[in-house]
């Protein structure tokens, strides 16, 4: 009987670059910056790393395909390096590779690193992804944009739960305003300004009903983790963070091509959350989870994720938003670091950036964003569109 990975692996070091318009750095410099911080934080030397996992998505954008970019950037001594890609869940996929490799007993210490240089495309959104969708682009997704695909989830959500567009947009605006408030305090975030609900509601429309502030930024950045065998972790530091579960669930195509899905939630997120909670031994997530970093590529994504993760009841997440349940001083702070909203979304890096915040918070090292005594943190990293996606959930604790 397979027993999963609970408490077999610990995170002993992490690094994260400042995210933003990093015209001062190439992809190599970002990788070096993140890895150097992680290695120093773990108190190891580069030669202690036995294998590495590298995540990047839009590989052509000044990074390059394969595992070579990471090995070259860090001058890894002919190590086994694996390059992974799973759309916007790529960063967590790199961490999952490293964690599973240690859990398997194949290695004692591994590196996971994700990096992306999106600003170099010169385009405001994601660069042309018609090739990356394959024939599905012509069979299923004509001229849709990422904001458009998620906007349709908002429209459907408003319709199903009887929210007027004005009411719905106000709830979404509260989600973005909360993240901006947190991000303003974070020196590593890209967008560091508080914005009001009123400003958000007045912003230009990107894909109705989503306006500019309902969308995350486009940024450059890299983040990294050093993981090791759980039983070795305290040799490196007194406060390692233990991996309780790492699960991933992929759409089967049933969502869009059949009518059991109603467009107001993400089907694979439910499957992934069930498996993650089971592996971590969590019975009641609303009571047991201390903090979350979720994939807020768009405000509506964060709203339905509250429900998909079983934190808010179906159709009721708006009440929790209005009650401040997810605020930094709320019951389950969400996006304490500012989220994708303020960091932007350098695709390969985002999942590891989420874990960086959880790791710092669990260790009590989050500065003036520090949450009071968190002990279980969750990251939710999503790739793709509501009807066709990858959901990756990690739960860690101290």
């Amino acid at each position: 009987m397979a027993e999963g990975i609970r408490d077999k692996v610990a995170i002993i070091g992490m690094g994260c670059t400042r995210f933003g318009e990093r015209w001062d750095a190439g992809s190599e410099e970002l990788m070096v910056e993140a890895a150097t911080e992680a290695i120093k934080d773990a108190g190891i030397e580069k030669k202690d790393i036995q294998a590495a996992w590298f995540g990047s998505c839009f590989d052509e954008v000044n990074v390059g395909k394969s595992a070579i970019p990471l090995s070259f950037a860090l001058k890894l001594p002919f190590l086994p390096v694996t390059r992974v890609e799973n759309f916007c869940a790529t960063g967590t996929e790199a961490l999952r590779g490293a964690v599973y490799a240690v859990a398997s007993g194949a290695y004692d210490i591994c590196l996971a690193l994700g990096s992306e240089k999106l600003k170099d495309t010169g385009y405001g959104g994601l660069p042309d992804f018609s090739v990356s969708l394959g024939t599905k682009n012509r069979l299923i997704f004509p001229n849709i944009t990422a904001p458009g695909a998620f906007a349709m989830m908002a429209t459907r959500y408003f319709a199903k739960y009887g929210l007027s567009p004005e009411e719905g947009k106000e709830v979404l605006a509260m989600i973005s305003a909360k993240s901006h408030k947190n991000g303003a305090k974070n020196p590593k975030a890209h967008l560091r300004k508080e914005v009001t609900v009123e400003q958000i509601l007045k912003a230009p429309m990107i894909a109705w009903p989503l306006g500019l502030f309902d969308c995350c930024g486009v940024s450059d950045g890299a983040a990294a983790a050093i993981v090791c065998r759980a039983d070795m972790a305290k040799n490196f530091r007194s406060d390692p963070v233990f991996v309780k579960s790492m699960q991933i669930a992929i759409s089967s195509g049933e969502e869009i091509m059949y009518n059991t899905w109603d467009g107001t939630y993400v089907e694979s997120a439910k499957h992934c959350a069930d498996r993650a909670y089971e592996e971590a031994g969590i019975k009641n997530p609303r009571e047991e989870i201390s903090m979350m970093e979720v994939h807020d590529c768009f405000s509506i994504t964060e709203l339905v994720t509250y429900e998909d993760l079983g934190i808010s009841p179906r159709g009721k997440a708006a009440n929790d938003v209005r009650d401040g349940f997810f605020n930094i001083d709320g019951t389950i702070p969400c996006q304490a670091d500012g989220g994708l909203k303020c960091f932007g979304h350098p695709i390969g890096a985002s999942g590891l950036r989420m874990m960086y915040e959880v790791y710092k918070q669990l260790q009590g090292n989050a500065g003036d964003r520090q949450i009071k005594d968190p002990n279980i943190g969750l990251t939710h990293n999503m790739g793709g569109f509501p009807p066709m996606n990858i959901i990756s959930i990690s739960i860690v604790g101290n």
Binding site: Y123, P142, P147, T155, R156, A159, P204, M257
Partner: protein
């Protein structure tokens, strides 16, 4: 493997105004657009079927910032076709500025339009569109 309905046949169908999908001989479910395995029961015993071409609009957005190469604004919608599947496409024959929540639940008729080819698509192709149908 026996491909019941090739991409090429599907495209030629659209050109002639026919919406070709696959009906499962095991469970009767209709898979549209075509896939090698039934979306309902995973069966591979499928027959070509013609979609009647009507559906109910379930959701939409008005894209104001398009991908490179497209001119905004335009409406993208999802409709549940009478045969069951959810389909995505542009809602045409409507002024995007007039799109509002009253669209949800409206009957639509399926058609198709040409999209430009990209690097690997082997030239232009047709994608599904919707227009409002008289109720």
């Amino acid at each position: 493997m026996d491909y019941k309905l090739t991409y090429d046949q599907y495209q030629q169908g659209l050109q002639k105004g026919k919406l070709l999908g696959l009906k499962c001989n095991g469970c009767d479910a209709v898979t549209f657009p075509p896939k090698s395995l039934c979306r309902e029961c995973n069966g591979s015993d499928l027959s070509i079927t013609e979609i009647k071409g009507f559906g109910t609009l379930r959701t939409f957005t008005v894209v104001r910032v398009p991908p490179e190469g497209f001119t905004p604004p335009y409406v993208v919608a999802m409709a549940e076709i009478d045969e069951g599947a959810w389909v995505m496409g542009n809602l045409v024959d409507i002024n995007p500025d007039d799109a509002d929540m009253s669209l949800i639940g409206k009957k639509v008729r399926l058609g198709s339009q040409i999209v430009k080819g990209d690097t690997y698509s082997g030239g232009d192709s047709r994608v599904v569109t919707f227009s409002l149908a008289a109720n």
